[in-house]
């Protein structure tokens, strides 16, 4: 195992340990919220994954622009890995938010501005990943993804500002106990670290797959030449 691989593994283990500490803080250290009780603790995960859902799309848009400017497939590997993980975190945002809303508002879902904008973001993730999955040519996939990623990024400001602009039910910046704030901050940092590590690992995997495909194509081409 090379030093670089060991470093990668160490980073991954550290990120997982960090998340474990953060979840432990959320479950055991943070004070219990008076009106909602223990179910409020889902908020620490909800805010963290919501932030990562937005980050994932921002990385996709930047990588899309990178590819369109340079035509280098390395950007597309970033795009794909950020897209997959962003889709998961965006879906988790909706799920955890729904659990919180059921306790706080008495309903699993409400068509209020922030929730609707987040759902639209998740749909855009789905559409982009589905369309890319249907294309075989890597450069075509990267080009289509790049354009759609940049267009879809227009939804990001709407998700962030929806509650302020349209005064929905979603809380903006509620008053919190200082220990709750620290727990939230640790959770956001821990999940961000894990997200960053997973993106780099997935990107590495996609790069290897690309090299493998290129090698296969070259070998098949040579075999055809030698037969003819």
């Amino acid at each position: 195992m090379s030093l670089r691989n060991r470093l990668h593994a160490a980073c991954g283990l550290s990120a997982i340990a960090f998340v474990a500490v953060a979840v432990w803080m959320a479950a055991c250290i943070a004070p219990t919220e008076q009106s909602m009780g223990d179910i409020q603790r889902v908020l620490y995960v909800h805010v963290s994954v919501a932030w990562l859902g937005l980050c994932g799309f921002a990385v996709m848009a930047v990588s899309g622009v990178g590819y369109l400017l340079t035509r280098n497939l390395r950007f597309d590997h970033w795009f794909q890995s950020a897209g997959e993980l962003g889709w998961i975190t965006s879906g988790l945002t909706l799920a955890t938010g729904s659990i919180w809303a059921h306790e706080a508002w008495g309903t699993w879902w409400e068509w209020e501005p922030r929730l609707t904008a987040s759902f639209v973001l998740w749909l855009i993730y789905c559409a982009i990943l589905l369309v890319r999955g249907s294309l075989d040519d890597p450069h075509q996939r990267a080009r289509i993804g790049g354009v759609l990623g940049v267009m879809g990024a227009a939804d990001l400001p709407l998700v962030m500002m929806a509650t302020r602009w349209f005064r929905g039910m979603h809380p903006v910046s509620p008053q919190m106990d200082p220990l709750m704030r620290w727990t939230l901050l640790v959770n956001v940092l821990a999940f961000t670290a894990l997200f960053a590590w997973l993106i780099t690992e997935r990107r590495k995997q996609l790069r290897f797959r690309q090299s493998n495909d290129d090698l296969q194509r070259t070998l098949i081409g040579r075999m055809k030449c030698s037969h003819s």
């Binding site: 639209v120 559409a127 354009v147 940049v150 227009a154 709407l158 349209f166």
Partner: protein
């Protein structure tokens, strides 16, 4: 601007000569409006709440049928190759297609608005200037998204299916904002929130037209 007009004129003349796309778009719009109208056996207040969403969904589904054809028609008989030989910047081709699609959506609404009024008895003309503003901004945003995705879809040869799968989520913020603003016009509730929706429509129109102008050359690569 002259060059945009030339390409736009070519598209409009081709459509008026063949009448292939717009009549089918109008027919689809009327059918969707009829289906919605049949389902609207509701109280007047409930109709006022629903009419915006239904109207804009009808505009979207019928309009996309025309927008999808705006590029796939160019692929027939190598028309697209001829258009690329035309000495203009590709971004100007996007602008002409975008304007043409906006005109198509406007023509559709000229038919659909009175039809919705007749079917639902909800008056949308209490604030005509505001309605015109919302309609214009909604059309500009929708046609910009549709035009760019139509160009993308045509470049990979999987027209309709791909277009509909991608356009709907991308255009949802525009449809939602236009539907909410139209609902507020129908309810005669032009408050601060209404103008927020109008600002949002304007922002999306500007963003999608800018993105379309910049990315169109990349979108139409073979």
């Amino acid at each position: 601007m002259n060059k945009v007009w030339w390409v736009l004129q070519k598209d409009l003349v081709a459509e008026f000569r063949s009448l292939r796309v717009w009549p089918s778009m109008l027919l689809l719009g009327v059918v969707v409006a009829m289906v919605f109208g049949l389902q609207m056996d509701l109280l007047p207040q409930q109709k006022q709440r629903l009419v915006g969403g239904m109207l804009w969904l009808a505009v979207f589904f019928a309009g996309m049928a025309a927008i999808e054809r705006s590029f796939s028609a160019e692929r027939d008989d190598a028309c697209w190759d001829g258009l690329r030989l035309f000495p203009v910047d590709l971004s100007l081709v996007f602008w002409s297609k975008w304007i043409c699609n906006t005109i198509a959506l406007s023509a559709l609404e000229v038919v659909l608005f009175p039809l919705f009024f007749a079917l639902s008895h909800v008056s949308l003309l209490a604030h005509p200037a505001e309605l015109l503003l919302v309609t214009m901004l909604g059309n500009l945003g929708l046609s910009a998204v549709g035009t760019l995705v139509s160009a993308l879809a045509t470049s990979i040869g999987r027209g309709g299916n791909l277009l509909m799968a991608v356009v709907l989520p991308l255009a949802t913020p525009v449809i939602l904002a236009a539907a909410e603003a139209t609902r507020m016009i129908a309810e005669d509730a032009l408050n601060q929130t209404f103008w927020r929706w109008v600002q949002l429509l304007l922002a999306f129109a500007v963003v999608f037209v800018t993105v379309g102008t910049l990315l169109f050359p990349a979108a139409v690569e073979d």
